[in-house]
Amino acid sequence: MFQDILVTGLVNGGVYALLAIGFSLIFGVARIVNIAHTAFYMLAAYCFYMLLVKTGLGFVLAGLISVGAVTLLSVICYRLVIEPVREHEAAVLIATIALALIFQELMLYTFGGHFLGIPSTLEGAVRFFGVSIPYQRLLILVVAGAMLFLVWFVLYRTRLGLAIRATANDLEVANLMGMNVHRVAMATVAISVSLAAVAGVVVAPVFVVDPFMWLAPLVTMLAIVVLGGLGSLKGSLIGALIIGYVEAITVFAVPAGAYLKGAVALLIMVIVLLARPEGLFGIAFEEER
């Protein structure tokens, strides 16, 4: 059982990490709580499905177009919906909820409530410590690792990253220093949503595509980023692994209570918040940044 938990927790943690990194980035940098983050993930999955299954494009081309199209859409949404109300956090929250619901209803109207399947990019499975792991899940782990490295590289090795970090540190000072903070925020939104879109393309083949597929990961993702520390990429990665392992342990220890795995994950989040409100790796809340 130990090896089952070890492997299952790691693989599921990788799936969650891929989703949580982008959400954490946009909050940490632009202080935008983008509830529509997983809705963009859902849109990317639908886009990938259409291009791959319906039009017969290859995996790579379909994936690239899906990520590009959804990223472009996020920039448009940012300019039209988020930017005008960005000063008001509650308004941003509500606006992104509205966006997510609009996307959901649009998909429901277009595709109905049917559950759609996307073929795996990599077929087959490998046995590891006696546990069968499909290659697609290993691909997710690899992509999650690559994305994390890419985000780190952009943030710490490029001029854009410097601007993003400066804006995150103090928006007003960055503005006074001549940085175009709106453009930086827009770039951050684009990077963040492109990560969600990558998740949609890579993760969707192991799940089913439907208009409500954004809801369950949203809750898990919120638990992860709060657990890891709002805005902390390292925290998101570790939070994702913790949640992945907690869920695996719940299922293996209490099989008849497998449906409780989400609730147990949220309970851990609450306990961590009570003991350490800023999360495991987050910075303490401040009145003003």
Binding site: M1, D4, V7, T8, V11, N12, V15, L108, Y109, G112, G113, H114, F115, L116, G117, I118, P119, S120, A125, V131, S132, P134, Q136, R137, P205, V206, F207, V208, D210, F212, M213, A216, E247, A248, V251, F252, P255, A256, G257, A258, Y259, K261, G262
Partner: protein, 409 residues
């Protein structure tokens, strides 16, 4: 000028009277279902087939007067919201003035819809919900709930009888093929009200069927990932995964079992597995997943094959069990014509006594207004996905059944 105005008003009144007269020539039937989802889609399709067939033959004979059938499409949105479902019923009764109600899918919603329908004394033929409480209401308070009948499927307790009958048959095949006396069964049931009785019955009855229960796993009905559950089941050495799944988790189970090359075979209720789209949704991985079902090209009743063929020709897909709205409307037609009236009380009295040969069942009703369960009459059939096709394999005495297959070991 005044004369012209009066004449125009008279003309309008006459037109209105004509329109109302024309409306009175129809029997209005509300089709209740989640229309954005497969269940509602098949509710509607089955009803359309019945309507067109009846109207093409001149309508329903009501005491010598031919009346056409008019369907009212009511999207209950019940998968997402029970209040939406009750609002839809209220709307079709009060605004659209329908005569009868047909459909419903999710038990929680149908229980609420049943209350609204009974408040208005509207005959409600259920096609979709299995919860026993719907029929129990009739038994406990006949005067209020007598307007409810369950046309499909059988109630949950009877679904269990079918499940165990098929499970016994699969268990026997495993004993022979794998040379084992006690097949191991893993119960995989979504956490929902409708599975509680089935899970308890399975845990109690499987040892009596000389099967070992290796564990119970209960994921959420909307879970999209069951890798941890399947890892544990794989580890348990189960030969059969006994499924009770109505939500999208059924797709995840089918697909992920295939991806993991599991040697166990899935049998039980997998509502998603009943749909034509299941194979695609599971990305072609759901080989050997089997489920209880209603329709296939087998001679379950003399009407089954013609109906399935006509349905496939018209809608380019096979019907799921909610397409039994066809049978419900035909039962109504039969009752109205025999009674020569659309009076709900007269129709109730008639349906209580009939034996109706439909497309999915040969229906007779008990004192709860539930279908009387019988293998080959109302039990339904069992199907297995084999190379992208739904293959019927049970009951064995029905013509057209094919062999049940096991994954290679």
């Amino acid at each position: 000028m005044l004369r012209k105005i009066i004449a125009a008003h008279l003309f309008a009144l006459a037109a209105l009277g004509f329109a109302l007269g024309a409306q009175a020539q129809t029997i209005k039937i509300a089709i209740l279902g989640p229309m954005s989802f497969v269940q509602g889609e098949h509710h509607w399709n089955g009803a359309e087939m019945a309507r067109d067939e009846i109207n093409k033959a001149g309508g329903i004979d009501v005491g010598g007067k031919r009346m056409r059938v008019e369907l009212v499409r009511a999207d209950t949105n019940e998968i997402q919201s029970v209040p939406d479902a009750t609002n839809a019923v209220e709307r079709v009764i009060t605004r659209d003035k329908v005569d009868f109600l047909v459909g419903g899918f999710r038990s929680e919603a149908v229980l609420a819809m049943q209350e609204v329908a009974m408040d208005y004394k509207k005959l409600f033929l259920g096609v979709g919900a299995a919860h026993s409480k719907l029929g129990l209401n009739v038994e406990q308070n006949y005067e209020r709930y007598k307007y409810w009948f369950r046309v499909a499927p059988t109630k949950d307790v009877d679904l269990a009888r079918t499940l165990f009958a098929v499970l016994g048959s699969i268990g026997q095949q495993i004993r022979t093929d794998l040379k084992t006396d006690t097949p191991k069964v893993a119960i995989l049931a979504e956490k929902a009200v409708w599975t509680e009785g089935l899970v308890a019955a399975a845990q109690k009855n499987l040892p009596a069927l000389k099967m070992e229960v290796v564990g119970l796993w209960q994921p959420s009905a909307v879970a999209t990932d069951v890798t941890a559950e399947l890892s544990a089941i794989d580890r348990s050495g189960a030969h059969i995964v006994f499924t009770m799944l109505s939500g999208p988790v059924g797709i995840s189970v089918g697909r992920q079992m295939g991806e993991r090359n599991m040697k166990a075979v899935a049998w039980g209720i997998n509502v998603e597995g009943q749909k034509e789209e299941f194979w695609q949704a599971a990305a072609g991985k759901a080989q050997f997943v089997s489920t209880l079902d209603t329709y296939a090209e087998v001679e379950y009743t003399p009407k089954t094959i013609p109906f399935v063929k006509a349905y496939q020709a018209r809608f380019k897909k096979a019907p799921t069990y909610t397409a039994a709205t066809y049978d419900a409307i035909m039962i109504l037609k039969d009752a109205i014509e025999k009674q020569g009236s659309t009076n709900a009380d007269k129709i109730v009295a008639h349906i209580e006594k009939i034996e109706h040969t439909g497309t999915g069942a040969i229906a007779t009703f008990d004192k709860r207004h539930d279908l009387v369960w019988a293998v080959g009459k109302t039990s339904g059939i069992a199907v297995q996905w084999q190379d992208g096709k739904k293959v019927p394999f049970w009951p064995p005495n029905v013509k057209g059944m094919q062999p049940f297959k096991m994954p290679a070991r």
